[in-house]
């Protein structure tokens, strides 16, 4: 509900909705404010401090991501102080992580480096080398945490808690040692983790990354994204296959950004990680039928469907319609399941129809 209340941001008089933050109001008006620790789906942490803006009447700069607008609030256009803080924050985070962009983006793209390029820095500072513990013995198959790139923004832990409702990971230790950990620093597979990989998607630095893609060795930005629909279930999540064209290979699967598709930036373990079948040598690429010697041989879809329909009709002829049963897969959509029961009920007049996910 838009009320008739106004806030002034960068000289623009904007109406705002109850409870909106400076960042939300500004974004609606296409006024850019940089953020590192923010995601619209999560409660603000106010940790990275890059989004600070000057609000008239306040001595200290205020975090745009967490400060609610109020009527007649005036947010100044980026003053030298605001600009200096952005550059300070970027130098700070770079000194604490990986300053070399190519190295930082060896796998995932880095929002931190994007912002450093766009806003500039206060100079290159001596690396800090924070003593953040990792979990080197975590032998889960998919997710790699690299503490030297972590900015302790807590996007991953907030995601795991507030969106997945899993709470497998946490901010742990204190001060310079602050890191991302699990209970007793166990492997993710020995926690409540569902291996959804959402923590990778929200990470702004590539500190959370995918083991297989890291091993493949090509940065994400050199891969081509091919949008498709996940075929593991009927939800219809949109996925981006990240394809290495030169090798003709799907290297990993990512989610389209939040707010753009039905899955709102989320995926499950199957959609995100269960893709090694794509290039598996045992993968079936043609229908198989048995020849007279009883061996499976490749054939055309016409031939295969012909064999199936003849076999179904002959069972029905010899033993009656109720000798047939139709079971569809949990990977089918609602429409496909509808067609399956239509085939059973209308085609063969039997109620022997089921779907494997209906227990």
């Amino acid at each position: 509900m838009t009320s008739k209340r106004f806030v002034i941001i960068d000289g623009n008089e904007l109406s705002f909705e109850e409870g909106e933050t400076i960042l939300q109001a500004a974004r609606r008006a296409e006024i850019e404010i940089p953020t590192l620790c923010h995601d619209d789906r999560l409660t603000p942490a106010g940790a990275c401090r890059i989004c600070l803006v000057e609000v008239e009447g306040a001595n200290l700069m205020q975090p745009a991501c967490a400060t609610r607008v109020s009527p007649n609030m005036v947010v100044r256009p980026p003053t030298p102080r605001v600009t200096r803080n952005r550059q300070f924050t970027l130098s700070l985070h770079l000194a604490d992580t990986i300053q070399d962009r190519a190295l930082a983006e060896d796998s995932n793209p880095s929002r931190l480096h994007d912002l450093a390029e766009r806003y500039g820095t206060a100079g290159q500072w001596v690396p800090v080398d924070s003593p953040r513990p990792g979990r080197p013995s975590d032998d889960n198959p998919y997710i790699q945490f690299r503490p030297d790139r972590c900015i302790a923004c807590s996007l991953c832990t907030r995601y795991c808690d507030q969106i997945e409702a899993v709470s497998a990971i946490t901010l742990a230790f204190k001060g310079a040692k602050t890191t991302i950990s699990t209970a007793d620093e166990r492997s993710l597979t020995e926690t409540t983790c569902e291996l959804c990989g959402g923590c990778i998607d929200v990470c702004p630095t590539g500190a959370m990354t995918e083991k297989a893609a890291l091993a493949w060795g090509k940065p994400e930005m050199d891969l081509e994204k091919v949008r498709t629909t996940c075929n593991f279930c009927g939800v219809g999540c949109q996925v981006d296959l990240n394809v290495d064209r030169a090798a003709n290979r799907v290297v990993k699967v990512t989610s389209p950004p939040p707010g753009t598709t039905v899955n709102d930036g989320n995926l499950c373990v199957k959609g995100r990680f269960a893709n090694d079948f794509i290039h598996h040598p045992d993968r079936l690429q043609d229908p198989l039928v048995r020849n007279e010697a009883g061996e499976l041989v490749a054939t055309s879809w016409d031939e295969a469907l012909d064999r199936v329909s003849k076999a179904l009709l002959s069972v029905a002829d010899e033993h009656g319609n109720d000798a047939l049963a139709f079971i569809s897969s949990s990977r089918c959509t609602g429409e496909e399941n509808y067609l399956m029961q239509k085939l059973a009920r209308a085609g063969f007049q039997t109620h022997n129809v089921h779907q494997c996910a209906a227990t």
């Binding site: 603000p44 942490a45 106010g46 940790a47 990275c48 401090r49 600070l52 200290l60 700069m61 975090p63 967490a66 102080r81 200096r84 803080n85 300070f88 924050t89 130098s91 700070l92 985070h93 000194a95 604490d96 206060a122 100079g123 500072w125 001596v126 800090v128 924070s130 900015i151 302790a152 808690d161 507030q162 409702a165 899993v166 709470s167 497998a168 990971i169 946490t170 901010l171 742990a172 230790f173 204190k174 001060g175 310079a176 040692k177 602050t178 950990s181 699990t182 209970a183 007793d184 620093e185 926690t191 409540t192």
Partner: protein, 512 residues
């Protein structure tokens, strides 16, 4: 996400019962409280007393205790076969080199500094009284009168911020929400500060009475006393006084008193970090607004007050706000000043607000050696040169001078002290005690400590951009820790440039 039935507020106690963080403990506490296991691990590893449960004796490595050769004490303990670790300031700087043995707290028992006098608001040396006159008078006259007297007294918060007390009380009275809380901040951790410890040990009834007045006036049904974990005897003294007051029939049975231990984190003295700790979370300060008077403990209006502030109440209500105001010189009231470091008689001295260092030194039998520098209000206040010896020590004046009265932990340094070393000692403290939540403080404290180490080790260019880092820490940190953490370095650079190889004080921006 924790289940609705989870009992998060219990987890710190449960972790303590279980003997601190060890493999498997998070699981046990998860079964008891239903809080996700990872969250419990995150909390356990935040608090030093839980994260290192078997560390043994804590030896203070604060500035004052380093001047008193705490390293030597540690080696002696080790020679005796006792395990020990260094810890941040233990609130016993008068006893430097200080230590905390969880099994034996007999080290903290000392006479206070100033002699008893009727012109002192707290008067540590006077016998503690069980009369509770102020409480009964407040009951009779009502909340408006109490807040009126508070306003007349001009009492400002003694925990460090110097915020007028009556504004907080009135703000709570103005809240429509009737579930309200009163919290005593006895987490005293600012290096150089040990006054709250003395107040509770010497005059616990002043504290109990003040809290009872607050609960009665603000209609709070629960009072929480948060006492730093290394103050076992202090907590015991407070609990004993509560029993006595209850026995004497002074207290409202409808009010529940809770005693909560700190678990070894300086940052939990910051009021919103303290609230997080009470709620069973990592002690990371909240963003403000909203302030605790509006949304505090459990999101309800909460009064948080320092021990010394609370202890001033009884006198104010008994003898009148005007009396208290008149005690001060440049600002209202008397103030407990903690003197430690190179002074002949370290201790807590109560003197009119605005007393100078020269006068305080006279009370403490003078400097040991020749005065070079001092911190007026703990590590967070940085350093002032000897030439500030006649500056009135109050909230406004010191703030205007780019420093602060803070908790009035006055640390005196003589001319044997190397200011690079002194600044480095404070930098180590802030790096150790940063909660790690926001980047300016978490990373900035590391940069400053590393730059000082490199400078000490002979790299003349090591301090090249520390002023830029200090600027950002002061401007962008979430809480007072990060905002003040660069002050020891920037003030040392300003007043002692020659020790940093500079001909004059550096220009450019500093924190303000």
């Amino acid at each position: 996400m924790q289940p609705k039935k989870a009992r998060r507020e219990e987890i710190l106690d449960r972790l303590e019962e279980a003997g601190g963080q060890r493999t498997g403990v998070a699981k046990t506490v998860q079964r008891q409280t239903l809080v996700p296991e990872a969250d419990i691990f995150g909390v356990a590893t935040f608090y030093s007393l839980l994260a290192q449960p078997e560390a043994g004796i804590r030896v203070c490595q604060g500035l004052t205790c380093q001047l008193a050769e705490c390293e030597h004490l540690k080696s002696e303990l080790e020679a005796d076969g006792k395990s020990s670790v260094f810890a941040s300031c233990l609130g016993r700087c008068d006893l430097a080199p200080a230590f905390w043995d969880p099994e034996d707290e007999s080290q903290i028992d000392r006479a206070p500094g100033s002699p008893s006098s009727p012109d002192l608001a707290i008067d540590l040396a006077a016998p503690d009284s069980l009369a509770y006159e102020a409480l009964h008078k407040a009951a009779e006259k009502g909340p408006d009168w109490v807040v009126g007297e508070l306003e007349a007294s001009g009492l400002t918060g003694r925990g460090g911020a110097g915020f007028p007390a009556h504004i907080k009380w009135q703000a709570i009275l103005d809240q429509p929400e009737t579930e309200r809380y009163v919290v005593l901040n006895a987490d005293e951790g600012e290096p150089g500060t040990f006054k709250d410890r003395e107040v509770i040990l010497r005059r616990p009834h002043l504290v109990i009475e003040g809290l009872a007045v607050a609960a009665q006036c603000l209609e709070a049904r629960d009072i929480y006393a948060y006492v730093r974990g290394e103050f076992g005897r202090v907590r015991a003294a407070l609990e004993e006084a509560l029993q006595a007051a209850r026995k004497a029939g002074h207290l409202d049975d409808g009010v529940t008193w809770h005693f909560v231990d700190g678990h070894g984190a300086y940052i939990c003295g910051e009021e919103t970090a303290l609230l997080e700790a009470l709620e069973g979370k990592r002690g990371m300060p909240r963003m403000k607004p909203p302030f605790p008077v509006e949304k505090g403990f459990r999101g309800k209006p909460t009064l948080i007050q320092n021990v010394e502030s609370i202890a001033c109440l009884a006198g104010i209500l008994r003898r009148g706000g005007a009396w208290f105001r008149g005690l001060g010189r440049t600002e209202p009231g008397t103030k407990l000043y903690c003197l430690s470091g190179h002074v002949e008689r370290p201790g807590v001295y109560e003197a009119p607000m605005g007393t100078t260092l020269r006068e305080l030194l006279a009370m403490a039998d003078g400097v040991s050696g020749t005065l070079k520098a001092f911190s007026p209000g703990g590590a967070s206040s940085g350093f002032l040169p000897a030439s500030s010896i006649d500056m009135p020590m109050d909230f406004g004046g010191l703030r205007a001078a780019g420093t602060m009265l803070g908790s009035a932990g006055v640390v005196v340094l003589n001319d044997t002290v190397d200011m690079v070393w002194a600044a480095l000692t404070q930098a180590v403290f802030f790096e150790e005690e940063s909660c790690g939540q926001c980047s300016p403080c978490r990373i900035g404290t590391q940069i400053l400590r590393q730059a000082l180490e490199r400078y000490r080790d002979g790299d003349p260019g090591a301090l090249a951009y520390v002023q830029d880092v200090a600027w950002g820490m002061g401007e962008a940190s979430i809480c007072g820790l990060g905002q003040a953490a660069a002050l020891p370095l920037t003030s040392a650079l300003k007043y002692f440039p020659e020790e940093f190889g500079l001909a004059s004080a550096p220009g450019g921006s500093t924190t303000s």
